[in-house]
């Protein structure tokens, strides 16, 4: 289980996360929705500590880190916690100097020090899962956006993270390419992969999210089962936001 408690994050005097507390239940998909600039990416990046919060607590399973202004956090603690997560970026960020297969193997070989053969076997399994075996030896630059994102998902899953953090995984893709990525993520959801996913894609959120969290200017305004938040939002702001999403999707 992933727990965030009272997370505060500022960039200079821009107070982006204002004491966010959140529980991501294991085996479910939690969708993080909210307007652009509301702090979704920052919140995801505070889970794997690409951004270090000024204060609050991040817990993944048995790994806990408390942040406080001026407090020092040992690098090893950050690394240990981060290694329980995987991340899928909006713009894929595959390693361009490695093939698709090598991208997926990289964490296994470099971080976990697996032997090549074992890493290759695991990476091939993951490429199989995301439907990219045929392109195992392709360079990222020769793949479509949707294909790159599927390889990126396999890369993020390789070290068996406790939670997959997805930052708008389909928003850089044309709608027809987004479909293939949505399908892969839906399959992972059915298999019980724990995910925390920022998204603007109502189809993505509606098809795979079990829980929805609505973030507005760094505050969680509403959180609950997807059906409830989308179907009968309690807060006025959530209502407005959900209706803009619906309007976009029907275009």
């Amino acid at each position: 289980m992933i727990t965030l408690e009272h997370i505060h994050k500022s960039f200079q005097d821009n107070h982006v996360l204002k004491g966010v507390s959140l529980v991501v239940p294991e085996g479910g998909v939690t969708a993080l929705i909210g307007a652009s600039g509301s702090g979704k990416s920052t919140l995801l990046r505070c889970v794997n500590l690409l951004e270090v919060p000024q204060s609050g607590r991040v817990r993944i399973d048995d790994a806990v880190i408390d942040f406080s202004p001026g407090g020092k956090v040992p690098r090893n603690a950050i690394l240990a916690l981060r290694r329980k997560t995987g991340m899928v970026f909006q713009n894929f960020q595959l390693f361009p100097h490695l093939t698709a297969l090598e991208n997926v193997m990289e964490s296994l070989v470099t971080v976990l020090k697996w032997p090549q053969e074992k890493a290759r076997a695991r990476a091939m399994e993951l490429l199989e899962k995301v439907g990219m075996v045929a392109k195992a030896d392709a360079w990222p630059a020769n793949l479509s956006g949707g294909q790159q994102q599927r390889v990126a998902i396999a890369r993020a899953l390789a070290p068996t993270p406790k939670v997959l953090l997805c930052d708008e995984p389909t928003s850089a893709l044309d709608p027809q390419l987004a479909v293939e990525v949505v399908e892969v993520l839906a399959q992972l959801a059915r298999e019980g992969t724990t995910m925390l996913m920022a998204t603007h894609d109502l189809r993505l959120a509606a098809t795979i999210a079990s829980n929805v969290v609505f973030l507005d200017s760094g505050d969680i305004v509403e959180a609950g089962p997807a059906r409830q938040v989308f179907g009968a939002p309690a807060d006025e702001r959530t209502k407005r936001f959900v209706s803009t999403l619906t309007a976009q999707t029907t275009l």
Binding site: L50, G86, F95, A141, N142, Q148
Partner: protein, 226 residues
Amino acid sequence: MPQWLSLMIESLPSLLWACMVFTVPLTLLSFALGLGVGFVVALTRLFAPGPLVMLVRFYVWIIRGTPLLVQLFLIFYGLPSVGIVLDAFPAALIGFTLNVGAYTSEIIRAVLVSVPKGQWEAAYSIGMTWRQAMYRTILPQAGRIAVPPLSNTFISLVKDTSLAAAITVPELFRAGQRIVATSYEPLILYVEVALIYLVVSSVLSSLQARLEKRLSRYGGYIEAAS
């Protein structure tokens, strides 16, 4: 056989010997060591605390702002006045290494920062340490971008080693000068010396082109492709 040709053939072995024994080792060693210096200086400028940054900026400023020939003279003829006496070859090696270090540090710094920040984040996101991210993710990409400018530095260096003649290193150019002193045929000898430099730099240029071609096999950055 015309007299100029026989003179050229006669002097070729000693010129080639000087090239192989002094010019080539001086070039290779000072380039390799200079790259190491350049890498450390670049990392210092990018990641180290203020005072160290000031120190390496001062070094780069001095080296880039003064003539290489003056630097060589300072090391070989100047340092003995403060008790540091060096042989010609080590003096030249130090001079060229410092020079290569200063110039390549700027190149290395520029290519390191040209790798998108997202690549660091991707590396961190799969659990890499700073060191792993640097060596496995950032350097390979930066290295590829650095090949053309570093090759240019290298090819310039081959030619610049002729300056070592001025501090008595018996490299290719000085070997030519010696033969001129006895044969009184400067035109023939210096043309021959020039031709040898030309052959060496042309071979290096073609190697550079092949290396660039090989490195370009994986296409461009993802942003450029999508």
